[in-house]
Symmetry: C2
Subunit: 328 residues, 2 copies
C-alpha cells in the first residue's frame, strides 16, 4: 500500500453542466481525465452516483492500483462546510444542505474532502500554478458570475461561517445595476460576462450597432459567450471595445479595493472572460488597480493571469484532499 | 525581577496632536495615564524624545518598579513594519521612513514594539473589549478618516507588505466624490466625518439650512466636530439627519462588502463619529449591512460598538508588546 505522501488522489470538479474527474499524482501530474454530463435533474443522489462513477472510471483508466489512491477531493459550486462536507446551497445544482462527503464516501469507499469550487481553483493556482511560493494570494474568477478565493499565510481563509470569498458581491457602485443577488452595484453586476452582455443588449436596444448581433445565433446577445466577446473586441467592434474596457476598469477598481484592504502579494485572474481576452484584459485590470492603490501597498505586488484553466478546480480539490490525508 | 507574563507594559498612543502613555497590567488594568502634546514641529527626534518622557513619567507615576516593566508598545498613525519597527509614512506627523523602534529603544532602554494605531485599536477591542473570545474580527474606526484592522484566526492580518487594513480606501462608488488619497468614491470619502461635513457645507452653499451653521463658531462647517453633528442629529435638524443617515448607510454597504468577502464573526465600530452618534448609528449600519449580505454569511455575525474609546490604541499596543515579550 502506498504511503500517504506518495499516493494518488482523485480530484473532481462538479459543475452545473459537466463533471470532471482526474487522477492526480503527488507532484500535481494529471494521469487521466474523465468527463461526464452532470445529471442535475436527478437531484443529489443521481448527481453523486454519477460523480462516484466518474471517480471509479478515472481510477480504472489511469491504471493505478485502487490501494494507491488515498482520497478524493471535490469542488462544488456553493457555500459549504469543508469540515463536515455538507453543501449549504448550490444554486446551479438546485441543492440545499446536501451531505456530499458522507454520501460520496459511502459509495466510493475512500476519504472524501469537499471544498467550494472557486476556493479549490485558487488553491490550485497557489500550489501548482501562477502563485507557487506566494504566501498571500487572491484568486478572482470572472465568468458568468465572479467568484474568488483568499489565501493568507499559505492557507485558505474560510471565515467564521466558512463562506468567505464572495468577491463578486463586494459593492463597488452604491446605485449601480441590480445584481443577481438582489443588491445594487456588486462587482459581479459590473464586470461579469453577464454584466457585459447586459450592457451590450441595452445599448443595442437603444440603437447602437455591434458585430455581436450577427454573431449571436438566435439574435439573443445575452447568450453570447466569452470567446465571441473577445473576437468582437479584437476586431475593434466599437461597442464591444467600450463595454469590455469599462468592465476591465471595474475589475481593476475591485482589485484596488482588495489590495488596499488585504495587501496580498499576488492577484490571480482567471475564468472564461479572462482566458478569452488574455493579456490585454489582465494588463488593463492591473493598470486600473495600480492607479487606485497606495504606493506602499503596491510594492512588489503581482497581478497575473491564472495558468491552470479548466484543470484548476479538480487540481485544487486534489491538493486539499492530499493535504488533509497527510494530516490524518 | 517580574516574570514576562506578569510584568507591566507601557502602552503608547502617538497621535498627530497628543500622545497618551499608560502603564498596563497583565489583566489589562490601566495603572495610570500620562498625556502630552505631540511636538510635531520638532520632527522625529523631538517627538520620540517626548514619547520617551511620557513613558518614563507613566512608569514613575504608576509607582511600579522599573524592573517590573517588560516592554513598551506604541501605536503610530501610518503604515509601518512591525518587525523592524520602521514607520514608512505618517502623514499626520510628516514622517517618512522613521526607525521608531530603534530610536525609542535607545532612549527608554526597554524593548519597544511598534504597530499601526488602528491595528492596535482593533487588537485591544479583540483582546479586552467588544470582541473578547472572537476568532475573526474586523475593526472599523470612523472619524476624520476611516481606518480598520483585520483579525483572522485571532491574529492581526498584516499582508505581504505589512500594510493591510486600509478599509477606508475600499471603493464603494466608482464615480463618487474625490477622496484625500486621490481616488473617487472611497468608503472614507463617502462616510467619514470629513465626508459628512463636506456634504453639509455643499448643501448650505446651495441654500439649505441647518442648526450647525450657528453651532460652527467661525461659520466654517468643515470644522464641525462629531459631537456637534450628533447634537444636530438628535435635535432632528433635517439636513444633518439626512446626511448622517446616508453616511451610516454607506458604512453599512462597506460592512456588507466586508462580510461577503471575509465572513468575520464580528464587526466592531469605533471612532469619533460612532461614539458621538451611539447605538442609533450602529443599528443603522447593521441594518444596511444585513440587507446586502448573504443569509449564510450573516448567520451568527455581530455588528457592535467598540468599548474602549480613547484607551484602545495604547491598550492594543500594550497587548502586542506583552505577547511579543512572551515569545522572546
Amino acid at each position: 500500500m502506498a504511503g500517504k505522501a506518495s499516493g494518488y488522489v482523485v480530484g473532481v470538479d462538479l459543475g452545473g453542466t459537466k463533471t470532471l474527474a482526474a487522477v492526480v499524482a503527488s507532484n500535481g501530474e494529471i494521469l487521466c481525465r474523465v468527463k461526464a454530463k452532470t445529471p442535475v435533474e436527478q437531484g443529489p443522489p443521481g448527481v453523486l452516483a454519477a460523480v462516484a462513477t466518474c471517480v471509479k472510471d478515472a481510477i480504472a483508466e489511469s491504471k493505478v492500483s485502487r490501494s494507491s489512491v488515498i482520497g478524493v477531493g471535490i469542488g462544488v459550486p456553493g457555500p459549504l462546510d469543508p469540515v463536515t462536507g455538507v453543501v449549504k446551497i448550490a444554486p446551479n445544482l438546485g441543492w440545499k444542505d446536501v451531505p456530499v462527503k458522507a454520501l460520496l464516501e459511502k459509495d466510493v469507499k475512500l476519504d472524501v474532502f469537499v471544498e467550494n469550487d472557486v476556493n479549490a481553483g485558487t488553491v490550485a493556482e497557489h500550489r501548482l500554478g501562477a502563485g507557487a511560493g506566494v504566501n498571500d494570494l487572491i484568486g478572482i474568477f470572472v465568468g458568468t458570475g465572479i467568484g474568488g478565493g483568499l489565501i493568507f499565510g499559505g492557507r485558505l481563509h474560510h471565515g467564521f461561517g466558512k463562506v468567505a470569498g464572495e468577491i463578486g458581491h463586494m459593492i463597488i457602485e452604491v446605485n449601480g445595476p441590480r445584481c443577481g443577488c438582489g443588491n445594487r452595484g456588486c462587482f459581479e453586476a459590473m464586470a461579469s460576462r453577464t454584466a457585459i452582455v447586459r450592457d451590450l443588449a441595452n445599448a443595442v436596444a437603444k440603437g447602437r450597432k455591434t458585430v455581436l448581433t450577427k454573431m449571436a445565433g438566435n439574435g439573443d446577445l445575452r447568450q453570447i459567450g466569452s470567446s465571441a466577446l473577445a473576437d468582437a473586441y479584437r476586431r475593434g467592434d466599437k461597442l464591444a471595445v467600450k463595454i469590455i474596457k469599462r468592465a476591465a476598469r471595474y475589475c481593476g477598481i475591485a482589485v484596488a479595493s482588495l489590495l488596499n484592504l488585504l495587501n496580498p502579494e499576488m492577484v490571480v485572474l482567471g475564468g472564461g472572460v479572462v482566458e478569452a481576452l488574455g493579456a490585454d484584459y489582465v494588463n488593463r485590470v492591473a493598470k486600473a488597480a495600480a492607479k487606485r492603490t497606495f504606493d506602499v501597498t503596491l510594492e512588489g505586488v503581482r497581478i497575473v493571469p491564472a495558468r491552470l484553466g479548466d484543470d484548476a478546480v479538480f487540481l485544487g480539490a486534489a491538493c486539499l484532499a492530499r493535504e488533509r490525508a497527510a494530516k490524518d
